[in-house]
């Protein structure tokens, strides 16, 4: 499965996997991921929504559109078939408006995940040291405050534990002001799994699992982004 997704993307001349492909790839490797399906028509989107159960999230799926929410390509918390239908039409229109030449695969449909503490995990390849993992809190914590920790692959359990505790926002994971604490062991397990996965999958150049929702008993990746090594 892993190699099939990678091969097919590379065959069509792409190194950036779509959200749906990225999620399929990590799900097939055993990562907990919010189930996400590709809808190519409005009717398909409604049908999938009914199957998954409301509320749902719709997002544009196009290798040419990277910043999905900036162009109006993301609709959250849709609670009925009518809302899903309208959202589908609006997203496709917005995508075409932002980039006439965009290759539009359709729209991804997923169940709205229960909110948790948002964290990010990712991998990039350092020019000197090879694959490196990153951990941080999601949203503004990673984007503005750059409150993240790195370790070089392969990680030991101790490295995973240490990098989670190293970030300044760690108290937020322990449960802050009545918020549910995150399961630290589940996050450590995910980091070790990611270390193992990137070690075994050298075709991946960089990736983000962002956000991951951390709950008191588990963690689940809500979005994924995988970039492959170009084949030269």
């Amino acid at each position: 499965m892993t190699s099939k997704i990678i091969t097919s993307a590379l065959k069509s001349g792409r190194t950036v996997l779509t959200e749906v492909e990225s999620k399929q790839l990590v799900a097939s490797a055993g990562f907990p991921v919010v189930e996400t399906k590709l809808a190519k028509t409005k009717d398909e989107a409604i049908e999938i929504s009914k199957k998954l159960g409301f509320p749902v999230v719709l997002k544009i799926v196009s290798p040419d559109i990277i910043h999905k929410s900036d162009i109006g390509g993301v609709k959250l918390n849709l609670t009925s078939a009518a809302q899903v239908g309208r959202a589908y039409t609006e997203i496709i229109a917005a995508a075409k408006k932002s980039n006439k030449k965009a290759d539009i695969h359709g729209v991804s449909v997923q169940k709205m995940a229960k909110p948790g503490v948002e964290v990010i995990m990712g991998m990039t390849k350092d020019a000197q040291f090879g694959p490196v993992l990153m951990f941080g809190l999601g949203g503004v914590f990673v984007e503005v405050l750059k409150d993240v920790a790195f370790r070089i692959v392969p990680l030991a359990r101790r490295d995973a534990s240490q990098m989670i505790r190293e970030i300044k926002g760690y108290p937020l994971l322990e449960g802050y002001r009545g918020q549910e604490p995150a399961n630290i062991t589940a996050l450590e397990d995910l980091l070790l799994k990611l270390s193992d996965f990137v070690d075994k999958t050298p075709q991946i150049k960089e990736m983000d699992l962002n956000p991951i929702f951390a709950y008191k008993d588990r963690a689940v990746a809500v979005d994924a982004r995988v970039i492959l090594e170009s084949q030269e």
Binding site: I120, T124, Q128, G130, V132, L133, V142, R151, E206, D208
Partner: protein, 482 residues
């Protein structure tokens, strides 16, 4: 024919412990720097020079000169080449033919110049040496220092007695400065090497060598870049588990942003990755020569300890506040003592013009007391006995110097401090900052250093050094670091 089945690590031992050294191309214009550096070398020294104008100068130094390496009778373990760069390939060929242990190229003007000629010449010597398996250090460096056998690269470097500190530096100046400055701080070296452009041997090979070297207990490194990062990572991880390794990374500020498509890629700047690498391996990060000196000194002269609670003894009220701030900023805590300590202090401590909560302000009980020495002994002992205190810091003044004026006179305060240091089980250090007189502060620190008492010149340097030491021991114990 130089191809050996022995590992690089094994073969480097011959280069770091040579019995014969040949200098190719030393000359008057260099002040015969290389031959003079070898004046105390315990072994055979040869010169190779074909310019007749240099013959008398070399002969005056009592060194036998030869027209080529091939003409030297007997084996040559280590060659230092200070020749014009265009001659470098010919010297490499001679080294291979002569089957020398290794060669260091002081010669510069290679790839570091970015010129076509320089890059071509570096490739030429790299190809020749690589093909033959010749151990080539540099080019553009000063090579090996081994004080025990008088192998130096600068005549100012000390020799005779060896120590346990090994140093690996990409820069020749840093190798020279650290080994010279180290001597003033009672840091003694096993070996050091500067390796310049790393054409053949890179930091990892030297790290592997010092990692196995029995004389080396502590390893310091100055690195700008490594060639094989994965190999360096594995070596560092393995060696840092056995010996403290300090890393000073140069050029951190020169890196620009990278073009990437992920958050992770955008945030993983080289500096952040190096920092992670150092942490992951349990090595110690330092940022400049002073921090390197301070931290090596701490590893040599401060007893190990992983506790973060500090007991502070300051010479005045203002100093006690500043000292507390410095240690708190460094991430250490300055807690209250136990009740029994306070009861004991109440018996001798003069709180008029002083205080003893922690920090102690000892102006009235020490600087202006008839019982200065016994009070100091008691204060140090209170800190030693108190279970709330993990390590002890003593500030000393030079405005009123509590030490005896004449170095030849008995010095009861110094004796008290030495006696305490010897019996104390806790990390202990002193800080003597400069007030009115840099020479006097230096003289005071030297006096302490000569007795094996670590002494630092500012509150901040003392505090950050203690934090680095504590963190190192916490990592060893498996604790989390923030």
């Amino acid at each position: 024919m130089n191809k050996s089945t022995d590992s690089v690590t094994t073969r480097l031992d011959r280069v770091f412990n040579p019995r014969s050294v040949a200098v190719v191309g030393d000359k008057q214009a260099l002040g015969y720097m290389w031959l003079k550096s070898l004046s105390a070398f315990k072994g055979d020294v040869y010169s190779v020079q074909i310019d007749p104008r240099e013959f008398s100068g070399i002969a005056e130094l009592g060194v036998k000169n030869f027209p080529s390496l091939m003409d030297i009778p007997g084996p040559v373990d280590y060659v230092i080449a200070a020749v014009p760069r265009t001659v470098a390939p010919a010297i490499v060929k001679d080294c291979i033919k002569k089957q020398v242990g290794g060669v260091c190229f002081f010669t510069s003007g290679f790839a570091e110049t970015g010129t076509e000629e320089g890059i071509r010449l570096q490739k030429a010597i790299t190809d020749l040496a690589g093909e033959a398996g010749l151990l080539l250090i540099g080019p553009n460096c000063v090579g090996v220092y081994n004080p025990r056998i008088g192998l130096r690269h600068n005549p100012i470097q000390v020799y005779g007695e060896g120590g346990s500190v090994g140093f690996i530096a990409q820069s020749g100046t840093h190798a020279t400065l650290f080994t010279i400055a180290g001597a003033r701080h009672r840091i003694k070296f096993s070996k050091s090497v500067s390796y310049g452009n790393a054409a053949i041997l890179d930091s990892t090979e030297y790290l592997d060598y010092l990692g196995t070297d029995n004389e080396t207990g502590i390893i310091g490194m100055y690195i700008e870049a490594v060639k094989d990062g994965r190999r360096f990572f594995r070596s560092l991880k393995e060696i840092a588990e056995r010996k403290p390794v300090l890393i000073w990374r140069g050029g951190e500020s020169e890196e620009g942003a990278r073009a990437t498509a992920s958050h992770t890629g955008a945030l993983a700047q080289s500096g952040a990755v190096w920092q992670a690498l150092i942490k992951q391996c349990g090595a110690i990060k330092v940022e400049n020569l002073d921090e390197m000196l301070d931290t090596v000194k701490a590893l040599l002269y401060i007893k190990p300890g992983s506790g973060t609670r500090v007991g502070l003894i300051a010479m005045s009220g203002g100093q006690s506040v500043a000292l507390t701030d410095a240690f708190a900023r460094a991430g250490l805590s300055v807690p209250v003592l136990t009740q029994s300590s306070y009861e004991r202090l109440a018996g001798f401590f003069n709180i008029v013009g002083g205080s003893y909560r922690n920090p102690f302000d000892v102006s009235s009980s020490f600087l202006m007391s008839d019982n200065a020495i016994s009070n100091m002994a008691n204060m140090l002992d209170v800190m030693e006995q108190d279970p709330n205190i993990d390590s002890i810091v003593l500030e000393l003044f030079t405005i009123i110097s509590p030490f005896s004026k004449d170095l030849k006179e008995p010095d009861p305060l110094l004796d008290t401090i030495v006696e305490f240091k010897d019996r104390s089980k806790k990390p202990f250090l002193t800080i003597v900052s400069t007030a009115h007189s840099e020479p006097l502060a230096l003289e005071t620190r030297n006096r302490l250093t000569s007795k094996g008492i670590p002494s630092f010149p500012t509150f901040e340097r003392g505090a950050k050094t203690l934090k680095r030491l504590v963190d190192y021991h916490r990592f060893k114990e498996g604790q989390y670091l923030n």
